[in-house]
C-alpha cells in the first residue's frame, strides 16, 4: 500500500469519541459545513431568489411532497414503467447474453454490435419510440427496456464465458437439455454477473425512463420534476431530486445485497 495521509487523526484536543471514530467525525463535519454553506448562500442574495432555497423550505417541500397522495400516483406510474422495462430489457438481455456468450462464433459476430452500441446515448431513440409506442407509458417503458438491455446482455455474455467448463461438462454428461442447462448450470453459475448486469441495468433504466418522462409525459416523477421547473417551484424540484436519488441509490444497494454481491470475497 502506498504511503498516504497526513490528515490521519484528529488533533489531541478533540473529544475522545472523535479520536475513536475519526471517519464519522469527519463525515459529520463535512455534512455540517455543506449545509451551513448552503444556508448562507441561500440567505446571501448572491443568486436569484429560490435558485438556492433555504434548507427549511426544501424540508417543508419534501414533507409536502411525501404527504401528497398524488405524488404516490406519479410514483406508482414511474415504478410500473421501470418495473416493466426491467422485465422486458432484463429478460431479453439475459437471453441474448446467453446466446452470445455460449458460442464463440456468435460472440465474434454479434458482440461488437452490443459493445459499441452500449455506450451510445439511448435518449436519442425516444422520437422513434414515440412513433412506435405512442406518447403514453409504452414509449417510456421502451426507453427503459433499451437502456437496460445492453448492460445486462454484455454482463451475461461475459459471465457465460467465465463459467467453469467442468460444470458444463457435468451438465452434458447428465444429458441435460437446453432448458435444464440454462436453469441448472448457466443461471446459478452466473448469479453474480447477472445481478451486476441488473444493477447497472436498473441505473440506466431509471435514467432512460425518467428522462423520457421529462421530455413528454403527463404522469410520473420525471413529469413532476419538469413541471416544478416550468412553475419555478425550486424547493419542490430539490425535494423530488432528493427522493429520486434516495430511490436510485437504495434500489442499487438492495439489488446488490439481495444478489449477495457484498459477500463476494475479493482476493
Amino acid at each position: 500500500m502506498a504511503e498516504t495521509g497526513r490528515l490521519t487523526a484528529p488533533a489531541a484536543y478533540a473529544p475522545s469519541w472523535m479520536r475513536e471514530h475519526p471517519v464519522t467525525a469527519l463525515r459529520i463535519a463535512i455534512i455540517i459545513t455543506v449545509l451551513t454553506g448552503w444556508e448562507l448562500l441561500a440567505r446571501s442574495g448572491w443568486l436569484y431568489r429560490d435558485v438556492v432555497p433555504s434548507l427549511l423550505s426544501i424540508g417543508r417541500a419534501l414533507y409536502e411532497t411525501l404527504s401528497d397522495p398524488t405524488f404516490y400516483l406519479h410514483l406508482t406510474t414511474t415504478f410500473y414503467e421501470i418495473g416493466l422495462a426491467m422485465v422486458i430489457g432484463g429478460l431479453s438481455g439475459l437471453a441474448v447474453g446467453i446466446l452470445i456468450g455460449g458460442s464463440k462464433l456468435m460472440q465474434h459476430a454479434y458482440e461488437p454490435f452490443l459493445y459499441y452500441l452500449g455506450p451510445c446515448p439511448k435518449i436519442i431513440f425516444f422520437p422513434v419510440m414515440i412513433m412506435w409506442f405512442g406518447v403514453g407509458p409504452g414509449s417510456k417503458i421502451a426507453m427503459g427496456a433499451i437502456s437496460c438491455f445492453f448492460p445486462v446482455a454484455l454482463n451475461v455474455a461475459g459471465g457465460m464465458r467465465e463459467i467453469d467448463k467442468v460444470l458444463i461438462r457435468v451438465g452434458r454428461s447428465f444429458r441435460a437439455n437446453t432448458w435444464q442447462m440454462v436453469t441448472k448450470i448457466y443461471m446459478p453459475a452466473m448469479r453474480h454477473p447477472i445481478i451486476n448486469g441488473m444493477r447497472l441495468g436498473l441505473g440506466v433504466c431509471l435514467i432512460g425512463t425518467l428522462l423520457a418522462e421529462t421530455k413528454l409525459s403527463n404522469r410520473g416523477i420525471g413529469f413532476l420534476v419538469i413541471q416544478s421547473y416550468t412553475l419555478f417551484n425550486m424547493p419542490q424540484m430539490y425535494s423530488l431530486l432528493i427522493v429520486l436519488f434516495v430511490i436510485a441509490i437504495g434500489a442499487n444497494a438492495l439489488i446488490g445485497r439481495l444478489g449477495g454481491l457484498d459477500t463476494i470475497r475479493r482476493t
Partner: protein
C-alpha cells in the same frame, strides 16, 4: 492442388456473418415496408434513410453541429480531467478524507445525475454552459475513483525505490506515483469522456439546444422521419468512432505485458 478452406473456417467469417445479418435485417425491413406490413409513416424504408444522409449533412449543417457538440464535450472533458484528477490526488494524499468520502463518491457515480438538468437550466439558463456542466457533473465521479485506484495501486517496490533515492514528496509524485497510475487514470478519463458525451447529446436533445442532439429533436418535431433516423444513425456513428478512438488510445497507454 489443395482445396481452398471453406468460408466458415475463415477468420473473417464471424465479421462477415455479423455484417451480413445486419444487411439482411435492413433488406427485410425494406421489403416489409414496401409490402405494407410495416407502416412507412412509422418506419421509413432504409433506402430513404440512406438517401436522407446527404440532405441532413448538407442542409442541416451537421458539420457545424458536430463541431459544437465536440467543443462542448471537449470543454466538459477538460474540466472533468482537471477536477477529477485533482480530486483523486486529494483523496489519496489525505487518507482520512478518503475513508470518509470514497463511498459517497461511488454513490454519486451510481446516481442518475442527468436528472438534475432542469436544475441546471434554472442555474445556468438554456445555453451551452448547462450542457457542459451536465457533462462535467456526469463525468467527474468515475475519474476521481479511477485516479485514486491508480495511485493506491502503485507497486510498493516503486515507492521504495523513490524513497531510497531520497525523492521529495513532489518528486515522488511526479516521477513515481503519477506515471505508474497514468494507465488507470486514462481509463477514468475515457469513462469520464464517454459519460460526458452521452449526457451532452442527451441534454442537447432534451432542452432542444446545441448540436447533434438538437438536430434529432428538430427533425422529429418536423416529422421528417427519414431525416430523424439518419440523424440518429449519424450520432451512433460518432459515438462509436469516439469510443473506438479512446479505446485505441487507452491500449496504447497501457503498459505491455
Amino acid at each position: 492442388m489443395s482445396k481452398p478452406a471453406p468460408l466458415t473456417k475463415s477468420r473473417y467469417f464471424p465479421a462477415i456473418l455479423g455484417l451480413g445479418s445486419f444487411a439482411a435485417f435492413v433488406l427485410v425491413v425494406e421489403f416489409l415496408v414496401y409490402a405494407d406490413v410495416l407502416n412507412r409513416f412509422i418506419v421509413p424504408p432504409p433506402s430513404e434513410v440512406l438517401a436522407a444522409f446527404p440532405r441532413v449533412i448538407m442542409q442541416e449543417h451537421v458539420l457545424s453541429r458536430f463541431v459544437l457538440t465536440a467543443s462542448e464535450a471537449l470543454a466538459a472533458s477538460v474540466l472533468v480531467t482537471i477536477f477529477g484528477i485533482a480530486g483523486g490526488v486529494l483523496l489519496y494524499q489525505f487518507n482520512l478524507l478518503r475513508l470518509a468520502t470514497e463511498t459517497w463518491v461511488a454513490a454519486v457515480a451510481a446516481a442518475p445525475l442527468v436528472l438534475m438538468y432542469p436544475l441546471y437550466l434554472v442555474i445556468f439558463g438554456r445555453n451551452a454552459t448547462t450542457i457542459v456542466m451536465m457533462g462535467f457533473t456526469a463525468g467527474l465521479a468515475p475519474i476521481i475513483l479511477k485516479t485514486l485506484e491508480g495511485l493506491v495501486g502503485t507497486r510498493r517496490v516503486l515507492i521504495n525505490v523513490g524513497k531510497s533515492f531520497n525523492l521529495t514528496r513532489s518528486q515522488q509524485f511526479w516521477k513515481i506515483l503519477f506515471p505508474a497510475a497514468l494507465p488507470t487514470i486514462f481509463v477514468g478519463m475515457r469513462l469520464g469522456l464517454i459519460f460526458a458525451l452521452i449526457n451532452i447529446v442527451g441534454v442537447e436533445y432534451l432542452i432542444n439546444f446545441g448540436g447533434l442532439g438538437q438536430l434529432i429533436n428538430e427533425l422529429a418535431e418536423r416529422f421528417d422521419l427519414a431525416g430523424t433516423y439518419a440523424a440518429i444513425c449519424f450520432v451512433i456513428l460518432v459515438s462509436i468512432i469516439v469510443f473506438m478512438l479512446t479505446e485505441r488510445l487507452e491500449r496504447w497507454l497501457r503498459p505491455a505485458g
